[in-house]
């Protein structure tokens, strides 16, 4: 009995020893030499592997940064400038600061403003719907409302608002990785600079139809009337193909265009409310910063 136990232990131990030696030799022979800085950089990355930087994942990003030796041409939208500084420090270089970005939905064709003219009965996927036809409203440019952007977001920053049928971006969760912009077949979502304290002004419409047609399809559409370009003192607004676009690098957030827009297509968000709105509006909550929609 004791013999059996001793023998068993001895054989297993010997087997273990032999195999571990073999494993050791194999590991030595097939060892891949890697720059240790890749591991270091990977450690400071967010680790979401979202692909927002254009690389397959955080490790691919680190690999590319080490290979080029200068991460200036790369940017981790999730980690932002903090992470980029750390990456630069590991590589012993300095990087320029980049403005943080946020996803902006450039369609405000709500259910009331943009009536449905047919009923879509296919798979709930914007890509499928876009491949089939111009959509269930008269506007062939706007949001299709099936939520491909919601599925694409890895950070839970986008949700569909059932009241408007449009996606809503949660600024605090959005990392500006751009996955939603890529997923949107209509290119409704754009990455824009987040702006100071999140304040930004943008045209929430990309309808290229002529004013009359656009207006007929959607009450909130940009009709390309050029009024905004006239009031803008900073040359930030251009109108091409009957639709206005505000260059966020030039916009000084004066909000003159917002008041000028006849259809309310220009939105200004995250501005502090200076004076209370007329009675129709519900009293503003106690927060200092509140989303302000420019609809008259």
């Amino acid at each position: 009995m004791t013999d059996t136990v001793i023998w068993t232990i001895a054989i297993i131990a010997a087997l273990g020893l032999v195999l571990s030696v073999i494993l050791f030799l194999i590991a030595k022979k097939f060892r891949v030499e890697e720059d240790p800085r890749i591991d270091e950089i990977e450690k400071v990355m967010p680790g979401a592997n979202c692909g927002g930087c254009g690389f397959a994942g955080c490790r691919a990003f680190a690999d590319a940064a080490v290979k080029s030796g200068n991460p200036d041409s790369q940017f981790c939208p999730v980690g932002g400038n903090d992470v980029m500084k750390k990456v630069a420090a590991i590589l012993g270089v300095e990087v320029k600061e980049k403005a943080p970005q946020v996803a902006v939905v450039r369609c405000n064709g709500t259910c009331e403003a943009r009536p449905r003219v047919n009923e879509y009965d296919g798979a709930q996927s914007c890509r499928v719907k876009a491949a089939l036809y111009s959509g269930d409203t008269m506007c062939p440019f706007g949001c299709l409302g099936c939520g491909d952007c919601v599925d694409a977001c890895q950070f839970g920053a986008i949700s569909m608002d059932p009241a408007t049928g449009l996606p809503v971006v949660d600024d605090s969760k959005c990392t500006g990785c751009g996955a939603c912009a890529k997923a949107c077949p209509k290119h409704v979502i754009e990455l824009r600079n987040k702006g100071p304290r999140g304040m930004r002004v943008f045209v929430s419409c990309i309808n290229k139809d002529k004013g009359g047609i656009a207006r007929k399809a959607c009450a909130n559409a940009c009709i390309g009337c050029m009024k905004c370009t006239k009031v803008c003192a900073h040359d930030a607004i251009t109108v091409t193909d009957n639709v206005a676009y505000i260059d966020f690098t030039k916009c000084k957030l004066c909000k003159k265009c917002v008041a000028e827009c006849p259809t309310g297509a220009i939105h200004a968000v995250n501005f502090p409310i200076l004076k209370p709105k007329p009675a129709a509006e519900t009293p503003a909550p106690a927060e200092a910063i509140k989303k302000e929609v420019s609809n008259e």
Binding site: E119, Y120, G122, V128, L132, Y133
Partner: protein
């Protein structure tokens, strides 16, 4: 209509749905169910009622909480599981044992994998095998209650049980015609091979299933038992005995052909059937259990993902 529907093609659909397929299986099991109730009476009716009701309610319940995905529950599919579980149990099983079987079948084997379409193992068989190893007394001792028509109560082991203990000699002079029509002793669904085959034919005619899996199981069982029987008739029973006894027909026609846990393609299905037949015969001949249909199917269920990878449809233009 003021707004017309718009969708990608196709714009029409075959008159078939998950529910219609499940109800077809229930209809196909009706002959065997009726026979079992006629011969085992109220006791069998109780087993059936407890099994089906608990399967349906458990599925609904688990889907609502803790899964919080009520849409997962499919009553027709749960009813089929319940019916199959009941037919796989002896009529004397106490109601609480039946309930435990249903709990394991639905709760463990189905819903933990994500519900309908996600399970790896046939839920009814997992339930049965769980009971077989946990309550062997109830599951292997056959005390046959009086039937609806006043047949006498009988006690005894199954034919396969006899063979397992006493070898082929134990069943010498067996009347095979009787096993085809009326095979008292065993699980409730195993009484009449003919009733089961009738249901199987219904499924074939309705194109619910294809015959290949079942036929390959039968073929393998026949072939393996023929070879062994010819080699040593004293030690191994022959093909006719093996085809007609035990849960083979119930298993091959209704359990192995379960959509979710069988391969997608015809070739995969044939390999799967051959595997079941072979494992089953090995268990019957060499195992300590007299019957191996459940184990054989569950073992081959494990191989299904691999079979789906290995065997694909014949593609157009790739000859």
């Amino acid at each position: 209509m003021d707004k017309y529907l718009v969708s990608p093609n196709p714009h029409i659909h075959a008159s078939v749905s998950t529910n219609s397929l499940m109800w077809d299986v229930v209809i196909a099991l009706l002959p065997a169910t009726i026979v079992s109730v006629v011969f085992y009476g109220w006791a069998e009716l109780l087993v059936l009622a407890v099994s089906i009701a608990s399967c349906v309610l458990l599925e609904k319940g688990i889907a609502i909480w803790p899964m919080r995905r009520p849409a997962v529950a499919n009553s027709a599919s749960a009813a089929v599981t319940g019916l199959l579980l009941a037919l796989n149990l002896p009529p004397t099983t106490p109601w609480w044992v039946v309930f435990i079987g249903a709990l394991v079948a639905i709760g463990v084997a189905k819903m933990t994998y994500g519900g309908l379409g996600q399970n790896v193992f046939n839920p009814a068989l997992v339930g049965r095998v769980f009971l077989l190893v946990s309550f062997p007394t109830y599951m292997t001792h056959w005390e046959i209650p009086a039937g609806l028509f006043g047949a006498d109560a009988v006690t005894g082991p199954t034919l396969l049980g006899l063979v397992n203990e006493g070898g082929p000699a134990a069943v010498e002079g067996l009347d095979y015609m009787q096993t085809l029509f009326l095979n008292i002793g065993g699980s409730a669904g195993e009484i009449s091979a003919l009733a089961l085959l009738l249901g199987w034919c219904y499924l074939l005619v309705r194109r619910v299933i294809k015959p290949w899996i079942t036929l390959s199981i039968f073929g393998t069982v026949a072939l393996v038992s023929l070879i062994f029987h010819l080699a040593d008739p004293a030690a191994f029973t022959g093909p006719v005995f093996n085809l007609l006894t035990g849960g083979l027909i119930l298993g091959a026609c209704f359990m192995a052909t379960d959509y979710v846990t069988s391969p997608m393609t015809t070739v995969g299905g044939i390999v799967y059937g051959v595997g079941i037949g072979f494992i089953l015969m090995m268990i019957r001949y060499f195992g300590s259990y007299p019957e191996g249909v459940s184990f054989a199917i569950l073992l081959m269920n494990m191989a299904v993902p691999l079979l789906n990878r290995a065997f694909h449809q014949k593609k157009y233009g790739r000859a």
